[in-house]
Each structure stands twice: as structure tokens, then as C-alpha cells.
């Protein structure tokens, strides 16, 4: 969990609406920052801070959907909620498909607005934890030597020690030593756990995965 207070970033070129909704969210105890354009938000945002984005879908120059794709390419992709004057079905579909947290009309009931913001912040916190876990996991894998990684790649494919020894041209005893080192460094007890962690950390993309990358 992060110690900094999550911030609701509101992006809308209509300054009047921007001020009004910021007041409402502040009055409800949220920490709020306002921006009159997507560019302004992207330039000012703290790359690691927790929060969510509440953006007008229809803005000149860079609209809400553009902002969504810019955010998606980020290491800290804050959940995004869209605001719209009135429903626009193609945009809604695209936004939801690209993972928008929710879609709200500007005059949506207060409860629906507040609930959606809460949900977005909860999702950010959840995803942030998952990313931290992934990071920690990868750090563990980074302690492995080249050789240990090589052995690991055979182990997770279900190869036996004898086969691995043959493949790598080393003694079976040496393979066992490497395996012990691997399980100690990765703090795992079983091959099943080892395989699961390796998959979670995405250490060996390529054959064996449903969607091979970079092949």
C-alpha cells in the first residue's frame, strides 16, 4: 500500500464544471487536482502517485480517449472515468473496451458519481499492489545467475535432472545444486510453485505460453 493520499485528477476544458465537481468531491473528503486540458494533466502528473482520473470525453485538441491511450502507455496507468455531456455510444464502447473504469453523464446522480470514484480508487490501489508484487517477484528472479536461469527454463518445461544435465553438458549433481540455489533464492518449496511464480513474473515469454511474444 502506498502512504501518499490518492488524488482524483479532474480534466475538463469547461472550467465552470471543473470547479463545481472539484468542490463536490472535496466536500466529500477526496483529495482533488484540476486541469483544463489533457496535456496539462500529463505534463504535471506525478508518475508514481496513486489516484484516478476523471476526464471529460469531449475536449478540443486531446480528447478523453486520446488521454486514455496516453495513460495506458504509462508505467502508472491510473484508472480513468469518463464524463460526458450526453451519451455517445461509439465512444462509450471504445472507452470501455480499452478498460475505462466507468462512464458518467455530467448530471449523473451524486451517489453514482461518488461510488464510481471510490471504485476507481480501490481499483488503483489493487492494481498498484499487484504491480508492486510483480516488481518484487522480478527482483527475486534477478538474483539468479545466467546458468541458474538456464536450468530454471528447463525445469519449468518439466525436464528431469538427468535430461537437463545432458542438454547442458553438466553433471546431474550440478543440476541439483543449481536447483537448490534457485528454490532458495526464489523462496519456493515445490516445482509447481516454481512454475507458477515463473509464469507470474513473465520470465520466459515465448513457447509454452498461450500467446508467444516476440516470436
Amino acid at each position: 500500500m502506498s502512504e501518499t493520499v490518492p488524488v482524483v485528477h479532474i480534466v475538463d476544458d469547461d472550467t465552470s464544471f471543473l470547479t463545481a465537481i472539484a468542490r463536490l468531491l472535496r466536500a466529500n473528503g477526496f483529495s482533488v487536482k484540476t486541469y483544463s486540458s489533457a496535456h496539462e494533466f500529463l505534463a504535471q502528473r506525478d508518475a508514481n502517485a496513486p489516484g484516478c482520473v476523471l476526464a471529460d470525453l469531449q475536449m478540443p485538441q486531446m480528447n478523453g480517449l486520446d488521454l486514455q491511450s496516453a495513460l495506458a502507455h504509462n508505467r502508472n496507468p491510473l484508472p480513468i472515468l469518463f464524463l460526458t455531456g450526453h451519451g455517445d455510444i461509439p465512444s462509450t464502447v471504445r472507452a470501455m473496451r480499452d478498460g475505462a473504469e466507468d462512464f458518467l453523464e455530467k448530471r449523473a446522480p451524486k451517489k453514482r458519481l461518488l461510488d464510481a470514484v471510490m471504485r476507481a480508487l480501490a481499483r488503483d490501489s489493487r492494481e498498484r499492489d499487484a504491480r508492486a508484487q510483480q516488481c518484487e517477484l522480478r527482483a527475486r528472479f534477478h538474483t539468479l545467475t545466467e546458468r541458474e536461469l538456464e536450468v530454471l527454463s528447463h525445469v519449468v518445461r518439466g525436464r528431469l535432472n538427468k535430461q537437463i544435465a545432458g542438454d547442458l553438458g553438466i553433471h546431474e549433481r550440478t543440476v541439483k545444486l543449481h536447483r537448490t540455489a534457485i528454490t532458495t533464492k526464489l523462496k519456493v518449496q515445490s516445482v509447481a510453485e516454481l512454475t507458477r511464480l515463473t509464469q507470474e513474473a513473465g520470465i520466459f515469454p515465448g513457447p509454452g505460453r498461450t500467446f508467444p511474444k516476440g516470436q
Partner: protein
């Protein structure tokens, strides 16, 4: 016609109404405090008043468009019809990195129309044309406006973008309400343009160009010699 009016109005006033609602809700919460921040509440009330004014202005503006039953038609010179209007949208075009080209035929005669109404047509088409090419590459970010004679009795004005063009199934409906071609404005600019052009017995239409991109076009009748008022 009523449908177009209603949708235009709905869009224009939903922003200020949204702001009014959120401000009122915030004020209600502030009032629940043991010692409410009266300064803040005063600011909120001032903003609510301002947004009410904004919504009212939107209503007046749209009503103004349709208010006059008879058009005040006089000869309108090409400068007023095209030149002044293009000048107005130049900064908008520059902000979008769109190059705006203007080609008006020499000795183009005046058309017969209500200048106040006619001057609203071209900006709508140009702004729509610019949105259409928002995804276009740098070299294609051009919108050209041409005005030329179409036979002896009519002037044709065309706004051409060099973007993707318009899907065939959309072409016939592009001047209908809610056929949004751009995110802001929600399909209001083109229907209003159509209403105005048709009120002048002109014809608005859209077509794709063979070289790529699309054109919005409309015709207006030439003012007869000595036509006044």
C-alpha cells in the same frame, strides 16, 4: 426542425446544468458543517448564477437562429460570405495544425441571402472538416475552401478535407441531427447549416473526393442585378 432545435439546446445547456447541480450538491454539504464556510458558499452561489446565465445565453442564441420567420435577404458579397468567415476560424485551424487554403473565383457575383445566417454555415463546415482530419498525417492536414460559379445562377462553396473521407453509409445522413462527425458539437453544426442553406433554396451535400478526403458543398443563388432588400 424541432428535433434539431431540441438536440442542439440539450447539448449546449447540459454543461452549465451539470455545473449548477454539482455546485448545489457541494453547497448542501458545506452547510452541514458546524461552522459553514460562508465565503465558499457565496462563491458557489455566484457560480450558479453565472452558469444559469450561460445556459440562458445558449437558449437565446439557438432561439435567435430560428426566430426570424422571414430571412432578411440582400446581396452578400464574396468577402462577407467567405473571406471574413475564413479569417475567423484561422486561429482555430492553426491551433489544430491544419493548413487552411482559400480559393475564391475572380469576379464571383454576390449571392442573395441573409448574411447573419449565411455566415454561420461555413464555420460549421470548416470546423467539421478539421475534425475529420484530426487523425491525418502532417502533410494531409489541409482544409481547402473554394467558391466558384455553378452555372450562371448559382455559387457553389466547397470545404474539402484531405483526411480519411466519409464512409459511404454516412454520406447521405451527414447533415442529419446526431450524425456526429466530431466529438464536440454532437452533430449540430451540420444540421443547422442544412436548415440555413435550404431556407435559401440552396442545396447542401457531402461527397468523397477521388483523390481521398471528403467535401462538404452547398449552393446559393446569385443575387440579381439591382436586387436590394
Amino acid at each position: 426542425m424541432m428535433g434539431q432545435l431540441a438536440s442542439a439546446l440539450a447539448h449546449e445547456i447540459s454543461q452549465p446544468l451539470g455545473a449548477i447541480l454539482r455546485n448545489a450538491e457541494a453547497a448542501e454539504l458545506f452547510l452541514q458543517d458546524a461552522s459553514p464556510d460562508l465565503e465558499e458558499i457565496r462563491a458557489i452561489l455566484a457560480d450558479i448564477r453565472k452558469d444559469d446565465q450561460r445556459a440562458g445565453n445558449a437558449i437565446d442564441r439557438i432561439r435567435g437562429l430560428f426566430k426570424r420567420q422571414s430571412l432578411d435577404r440582400r446581396p452578400v458579397e464574396k468577402g462577407a460570405l467567405v473571406g471574413e468567415v475564413v479569417a475567423l476560424v484561422r486561429s482555430d485551424a492553426a491551433a489544430r495544425h491544419v493548413q487552411l487554403e482559400l480559393a475564391v473565383a475572380d469576379h464571383l457575383p454576390a449571392v442573395f441571402g441573409d448574411v447573419v445566417h449565411l455566415q454561420q454555415v461555413l464555420p460549421n463546415l470548416i470546423v467539421d472538416g478539421m475534425y475529420g482530419i484530426d487523425e491525418a498525417k502532417a502533410g494531409d492536414r489541409r482544409v481547402s475552401v473554394t467558391a466558384s460559379l455553378d452555372g450562371p445562377q448559382a455559387v457553389e462553396i466547397a470545404v474539402s478535407g484531405f483526411g480519411r473521407g466519409i464512409p459511404a453509409d454516412t454520406l447521405a445522413h451527414i447533415f442529419d441531427p446526431f450524425f456526429a462527425t466530431k466529438p464536440k458539437g454532437m452533430g449540430i453544426g451540420l444540421p443547422i447549416s442544412r436548415t440555413i442553406v435550404e431556407a435559401h433554396e440552396g442545396r447542401p451535400w457531402a461527397e468523397n473526393q477521388s483523390g481521398g478526403g471528403a467535401s462538404f458543398r452547398f449552393t446559393l443563388s446569385v443575387a440579381k442585378e439591382g436586387a436590394r432588400k
